[in-house]
Structures are given as C-alpha cells and as structure tokens.
Amino acid sequence: MKKLLVVMLAACMVFALAACGGAAEGGDTPAPAGSGSGSGSASAPAAGQTLKMASHNAVVEGNPYRVRYELDMQEAAADAVNYGYNVSYNSFVANSDASTEQQQLQNSINEGFDIIVNNPVATTGLDPIIESAQNAGIVYINADCAYMSTDVDILNVVTDQEYLGYKTGQYAGEVLGNGAKVVMIAAWEGNQANTDRQRGFEKAIAEAGMEVVATGNHDWDTTKSQQIMAEILNSGVQFDGVLVSQCAENALEAFDAAGVAYPGFIGFGDTGAFMQKMLEVNKDGLVTPYIVLSNPPGVGATALNFALNEIAGKKLKDGVFAPGYEDTHQIWIKSKVCYTDKDVAAGTQVEGMSIEDYANSFEAGDSITFWLNFQEVQDTYFN
C-alpha cells in the first residue's frame, strides 16, 4: 500500500513538474476562454506556406501582461492564415533563467523552427545563439524587452516605452503645476523597458519642474505596488501626485486601505481595473486626474508579423528605426490608446466607443492590447 502511494505521489509530482515546464517543452499556451482563436486554428490546414514559430519568453506565470502577450501571439499566428501562412505556435518559458533560455533557444534551432520571437531574460548574452539561429536560416526577432547587443543583426520590435513615461510626466506636470511634489514608483530596476520608460519620466519631470519626494519599485508585481504605496503613505511624506509605471490601480488601493484622500494625480494605468476604478472615483466630479496609456502586450504578435514580412522577402523602409537606437535596430511601436480625465469629460471616443463602454469592456486584470497584422506591418514599415 505504502509503495503504491509512493508511486502515485511520484506520478503526481512528475505531472506537476511537467505542467510547470510544459510550456518550456513546447506546449501550447491555453487560449483565452471565448477568444475564438489559438494554436488549434493556427495549425489548421491552409493553402500556403507552413511555418513553425517558437515564442520564447523570459516569464509568463504570475504576469498578466505576459499571459496576454502569449495569447495575442496565438491570435496573430491564427490570423496569418489570411495572408497565406499556416503558422504553428509553440511557447517556451525560461522562468527568468538565462541558461534555460539559451538551452531552449538551442533546442528550437535544432528542431528546425522557421521563426523565433524572443522576449529575452537579459539585454545581452545571446549573440552566439542568435548567430547560430540565423546561420540555420531561422528568422530571429526580439520583442518587447530590447536586446542591446550591437554585434548581431536582428530586429528589435518594442513598445515606445520612453513615450509612456514622458506622456505621463507631461500630463502630471500640466495638472499639478511647476514645483509639485510627486512620488515615483518605477517598475523593474535593470529591465530595459523600465530604463527607457524612466528616461521619459525623468525628462518630463525636469521639464515640468516637479520634485520627486519618494521612490520605489513594484517590479510589475501588483501586491508590491500596493505595499510600496502603503509604506510611502506610512512615511508621512507630503506629495501632490503619484507617477507609477503601471499597476496604478494597486497603488490606489493603498489609499483606500489607509483611509486617506486620493492624490492630485495618478498614472499611468492600462488595465480594466484602473480604467473602471478611475471612472468610479470621478463619477460625481473630478477627484483625481489620471492618464490611461496602452503598453500593448500585443507587441509580440506585431513582431511575428515583422518576421512573416521578412519571410515574404520584403525590405524595411528607410528611417524606421527609433532615433538614437539605429545600431540595435529598434522599432518602437507607438501607444495606440491614450486618454485622460479631460477626454472623459469631453466625451471623447476611444476605439469607436465611449470611454465608459470601452473601460467596461475589459476584465479587471486585462491590459489594453492591440497588434499590427501582416498587412499593417507591411504598409507601415516595409517597402
């Protein structure tokens, strides 16, 4: 009996570990309920070129943004059928471990994938692997977090993070005025997206003459965002507004928990929870000015369509790289959705609907997303 139990438990653990590493072994990430697309439809027979695509990601679990990133990749893979490509989607997750990432990339090369889209663990360190992939004829695209090595010739398809920080800081300055005291809660120290975004924040803070009186990092962790904000409130520091690099809804929850008045400004946020919360907070008149900006998880899906255009033999237009980042071939995808409390008051429409309807169309934790399809990428970036 005891032996049987041991065997059963061992099987159970193997199952758990397999489930944990399943994605790393090339398993399909589950499609969202009701999304109507996924790897199944992507791998459906279609008249056209059949391509194997590997989506490598530093982390997915515990990160709603990366979960949406992978779901969008699946949708884009399915959508490629409309442009004559039968793309199969495979997901590999390194769990923030650089050696695992290298091993998984090498496996993808050995298994003969046609496209690799990598959201990397670190900004450097993959040069030999990338060269190996390119020598094997694989189209290698880096997405979301920029890969900063200048020794390899790859495309970096990333969101314009600097714009997100700058736009937020700029609007905060407009609302709060010169000399305002602000709290700055950044994301993940050392992450390239955070570095770029902070550059934008700092530029706008300097331009608006604001003073940062307290800082923290939430590492894109909702629990930490609330904790850091609570601890800044505990410190008794006086401030006018809160600049936060996403996870804004959680920072605001700290005000609720502490029972103190909301700040004179908060932003930016990009989730259903934040958009809905801010409408609720300001429904009887403006209490807290805010800004909503999209940092689309769909950037990976857009990167896939860059790869497909390269396979189609298209050549990039001149001047598509971000100024100052030509050496790392960075293409910065602009934020598509941007609105403030003023737009809500003015009845501005977003994506063809009222801001109220738009905000309420999201689940609480879902981020605003969009991706450029094959044709849109071709029209915008290729000759």
């Binding site: 489930a19 589950p30 709603p64 029972g259 689940e363």
Partner: protein
C-alpha cells in the same frame, strides 16, 4: 593576566552568557524588542513616520501576515514544514474575486469552498509527508505547484472580478479612523490559535510530538494524526488568509500571495519557533510578523534604490535568523 583582568573577562563572559540565555529563552519578547527598535529607527530617520495612517497600515499588514504564520507555527511546532501556504492563499483569493465579482452576498459559499480547499491541501500535505514519509519541504512545494497549475487552468492566467465592497470594508474600514477592521478577525483568530496551542489537548500533544515523537508515541499519542491535523489547520488558516488578502487587494491574480509562504515562515522563525520542532509560540509569530512589516516599512522610509533595499532586507533577515532557530532537537 592579572587577577583583576581575569575577573573582568569572567564578568564580561557571564554578561554575554546571560544575554545569550535571555535571547534563547525569551524569543517572543526579543521579536517585540526588535520590532520596537525598527519602529524607533524609522521614526528617528523620518519623524513624520509616526502618524495614524502608518499605525493603521502596520496593524493591517501584520494581521494579514499573522494568519498564515499561525499555520506555519502549528506545523513547525509539530516538526513539519509548509511551503504551500502561499499557493493556498492565492487560490482562495482568486476564488473570492471570481465568485464575488464586486457584488455582496457570496461570502458564505466562498468561505466554505475555501475551507474545503484548505482542508484538502492540508490533508494531502500531511498525509504525504507524515504517512508516506517524504520530505515535508519537497512535498509541500510539489503540492503548491499543483495548486498553482490549477489556478492557471481555471483562470487561463487572466485576472477577473473583484472582492465585494462589504468584504473589502471588513478589512479596510478604520475603527476611529485608526484601527482597521481587520483587527476584528485578529480578535477571533489569535485567541483561537492561542487556545489550540496552549490550552487544548491537541496543542499539548503537538508540542510533545514535535519535541520527541518517540516519547509521544510511547505515551499513547497518535503522532501521525496530530501532525496531519497541524497541516490541515495550516491549510485552513492559509485559505482564510487568502480571502482577507483578496479583500485587501480587491483583485487577485494567479500566484498573487505566493510570497507569503516565505514571509510567514520567516516571521514564525523570527518569533522563536524552531525548525527542530517542539518549541515556539504564536505570540512570537505575531511579533515576527510585526518585525517583517516594520522592516519593510523602514527600508521604504530610507528611500533607497531597489537593489540596495533588497540586499539590506536580506542581510537583516539573515542576521535575525542567526539569533534564533539554533535549538537542537531532543535526542530520540
């Protein structure tokens, strides 16, 4: 060496021996002293830190951490270990927000299902580690992994729903503008755990089982049963903490409270409960929770860069852990 210096040396040695003895025998009190030092340091560095908002927040966060720490205390005293409390907390927090979806009136089903989850996970942890004899650390991590996988399977990794306004108010609403309502939960759970550990027959058996399972067995105590029950208690307390956590956060995503597995374990050890089993107190674990909250609060007050803050946090915790957890298991 002269007689005078020999006497001074002996006197110093006696003093340090007495301090060491005090530290080792008054662990809960030591945790309170450390908490007081941390709070005093915060106020000295930043006098504005002494305010009602801070006190309310510290109480709130301490109470939330003290609930899974209660489970850790029971399991550690019984000679086990539970790395699964964070996964259970995350699971029941997700259950809470998904079921409530911002509407009042779903508390009872959420509570009952959460308790059921806690009982099942606790029982499986206990059964595997006690009856089958697998290492508790490995088993509880593996089971936590399964609980986490289930979170992703059921939610597709997408965050949905919010805690009901009524539940949120039972945690965040401030009595007299200072003490958060969550203190009411503490008034129920803290005495209950004190009773279980110090007054009930189960509590006395648990100490004996943790201290010397062979002796406990010889006195007729069903050692395995006592240990499995301690895991079940841990599961149930973690499940309840998940509901409270969801009310605090309003929303919940997969693995949201996984960090509480380590935080609650460290809080428990800082409070004087040892890995060796058979010793420790819940008062110490509450004080340990307070230390954890105040340490994080102090480091934020210092306004340090994130990497330096993380290094300092780790160094201080290692120093604190060096003070405790050095009790030796009784020879069987």
């Amino acid at each position: 060496m002269s007689n005078k210096s020999t006497m001074e040396f002996q006197s110093n040695k006696d003093f340090f021996s007495r301090v060491n003895l005090f530290v080792q025998t008054h662990t809960a009190l030591m945790a309170v002293i450390i908490a007081a030092i941390l709070f005093a340091a915060t106020i000295i560095i930043n006098p504005r830190s002494l305010n009602l908002v801070a006190i309310g927040n510290i109480v709130l966060l301490t109470v939330i951490l003290s609930i899974p720490a209660a489970g850790q205390t029971l399991v550690l005293i019984g000679g086990g270990m539970d790395f699964g409390v964070g996964a259970v907390m995350s699971a029941t927090a997700i259950l809470t927000t998904y079921t409530m979806r911002g509407e009042n009136g779903h508390f009872l089903p959420v509570l009952l299902i959460s308790i059921a989850i806690g009982v099942v996970v606790g029982f499986v942890n206990g059964f595997c580690s006690v009856k089958i004899g697998l290492p508790a650390m490995i088993v509880t991590m593996a089971i936590a992994n399964i609980v986490t996988r289930l979170q992703y399977i059921l939610t597709q990794g997408v965050l949905s729903g919010t805690a009901s306004p009524l539940l949120a108010s039972t945690v965040k609403f401030k009595i007299g503008g200072v003490i958060p309502h969550v203190a009411v939960y503490a008034l129920i759970i803290w005495p209950l755990v004190f009773y279980i550990l110090n007054k009930s027959r189960f509590g006395k058996q648990l100490y004996l089982v943790g201290n010397n399972p062979t002796a406990a067995k010889l006195t007729g105590i069903k050692v395995d049963k006592v240990r499995i029950i301690s895991y079940i208690f841990s599961g149930v307390l973690a499940a309840f903490a998940g509901i409270i956590g969801a009310a605090y956060m309003s929303t919940a995503r997969c693995q949201i409270f996984d960090g509480y597995a380590y935080d609650s374990l460290i809080a428990t050890i800082i409070g004087g409960t040892t890995f060796a089993g058979g010793s420790g107190s819940y008062a110490g674990s509450i004080a340990g929770s307070l230390v954890m909250v105040l340490l994080s609060n102090l480091l934020t007050s210092l306004n340090l860069a994130s990497p330096i803050r993380n290094v300092l946090n780790a160094v201080i915790l290692v120093l604190l852990l060096m003070l405790y957890n050095r009790g030796k298991a009784v020879r069987q």
